[in-house]
Amino acid sequence: MVRLKFFARYAELVGQEDLELALPVPTTVAEVVRRVRAGVPGAAALPERPLTAVNLRHVRLDAPVADGDEVAFLPPLAGG
């Protein structure tokens, strides 16, 4: 089980901020993104290569994902 978080415009597209996804682990962020885009309503509109974070750290798409990890989909950053 992986915990998913969506923010800002992505949360609007998916219709929620928090989801859980059951998938074989360990896996990669890229695989989580692929399954989310294919299986979560509204998520097909997310980019194929979004900014992502795992457990509160920016990561690349090839980063590993383990059971219980929090994977966040981050729209283009606009802080400051």
């Binding site: 800002a8 900014l51 990561v59 950053l77 606009a78 802080g79």
Partner: protein, 147 residues
């Protein structure tokens, strides 16, 4: 870890300056990022800021720790406002104090640039005509962490 970086209240420059003040510091820089009207965009009356707050706190801990390693004699304090920020009010305030001005300027500049590059915060522009728009900064490269 300093924590408490975000607030829904107006940012107080005096409070930020007090956090970094000390007898060892001969130079203090204060940076304020303020919400700017965009007449060319149809008029911006305010910006609604939202954040991945847990990650923003963790990322700011890392950014400030990096600044401490690079400028050990400097002290930096930061507040980022969330929620609706009207035009002309500050969305972010950074105070940096150091024994000499070069380090104060450099540490302050470094922290705001890293905030822009790394902080999981988003903004929705409220336009004068009642429309709203998620801001998607042009040409910003994907962020892939400092490690």
């Amino acid at each position: 870890m300093e924590g408490g970086y975000t607030t829904r209240e107006p940012i107080s420059p005096a409070a930020l300056l007090a956090l970094v003040a000390g007898p060892d510091c001969g130079a203090t820089c204060l940076f304020l990022g303020t919400v700017r009207d965009g007449p060319e965009d149809g008029g911006v009356t305010g910006i609604e800021y939202s954040a991945y707050e847990a990650m923003a706190g963790a990322e700011l801990d890392r950014i400030l720790a990096e600044a401490r390693r690079q400028w050990p004699a400097a002290r930096v304090a930061l507040r980022h406002r969330l929620g609706l920020v009207p035009t002309e009010e500050a969305s972010i305030g950074i105070a940096a104090a150091a024994p000499h001005r070069a380090d104060a300027f450099a540490a302050c500049r470094h922290v705001i640039e890293e905030v822009k590059r790394r902080l999981p915060i988003w903004k929705k522009e409220l336009r004068a005509d009642g429309s709203v728009l998620w801001v998607d900064p042009q040409g910003r490269p994907a962020v892939v962490g400092p490690e």
